[in-house]
Amino acid sequence: MAEANVNDHSQSGGAKRPKIRITIDGAAFTTRDDDQEAASLLRLAGRDPKLYNLARLVPGGEPVVIKDGKVIDLADGDAFVSVKERVLLTFTIDGVSYTTRDDDQESASLLRLAGLDPAEYDLARIVAGKDPKVFKDEKVLDLHEGDIFISVKQNSLVA
């Protein structure tokens, strides 16, 4: 595993601070600066703090997300991961706007969001320059900003 030395600027006056070894997304880094902002560590790992959050790995527990401006007291062996921040997406179903941070949702979930029963309606996406696409209820859709969906009623039988 590649190891990067970072922020080794703590030698002013007195003894050197000890080296601290940390990992971010599995990559190893060393530093003598034992208090750094989460955003600095993200940049160190090549992650844009606007798009990612830093989370500390906790043995036996869920990763703990740390705000960008939070100063972290680093300890040797600390392990972190970057977590992509989900952006707020706006889309429409039958002209009604909805927002979500969940960018992959089942077609049926979107129908329910619009107050429609997936047993009676299908969902179709309209994309300029392409044929419309009708989705099965269980299809997981990748949502994009500005997506346009319309509902299609099933089984309007010949009477």
Binding site: D94, G95, A114, G115, E120, Y121, D122, A124, I126, D131, P132, K133, V134, I150, S151, V152, K153, Q154, N155, S156, L157, V158, A159
Partner: protein, 121 residues
């Protein structure tokens, strides 16, 4: 609203306009187009309409018959030409329970889309 256009018909036309669908009264029918989202006419704007006589209860009561040009065909159909323009026929289709859980025109358009999705090429 013109003097000749009944209020319920104008309401139907206005409701369609609210969804970006331009409709007009033409003789005994209200005519507009709808995008086919699948089927033999996918991605085509398909002309359709309803009888003016069936709009008296709109939006509480939806029309039953759906007008299409005779060039728009379906695997199964029950048709006649009552209230239809020349070259058109109307199709008997069951809309099921008419829900008011959202603006009626949305349910109407979803209903017609579902029918048009079954049109043959």
């Amino acid at each position: 609203m013109s003097a000749e256009t009944p209020a319920s018909v104008q309401a139907f036309i206005d409701d369609l306009a609210s969804q970006g669908v331009e409709a007009h009264m033409q003789g005994p029918a209200v005519i507009y187009s709808i995008l086919a989202v699948s089927g033999g006419l996918v991605n085509q704007e398909v002309p359709t309409g309803v009888s003016v006589n069936e709009l008296t209860g709109w939006p509480a009561v939806p029309p039953h018959w759906i007008h299409f040009p005779t060039t728009v065909t379906f695997e199964q159909a029950n048709t006649d030409t009552t209230d239809c323009l020349d070259g058109w026929q109307r199709h008997s289709r069951d809309i099921g329970t008419w829900s008011s859980n959202r603006p009626p025109v949305l349910n109407w358009l979803a209903h017609v889309r579902g029918i048009v999705a079954g049109a043959q090429s």
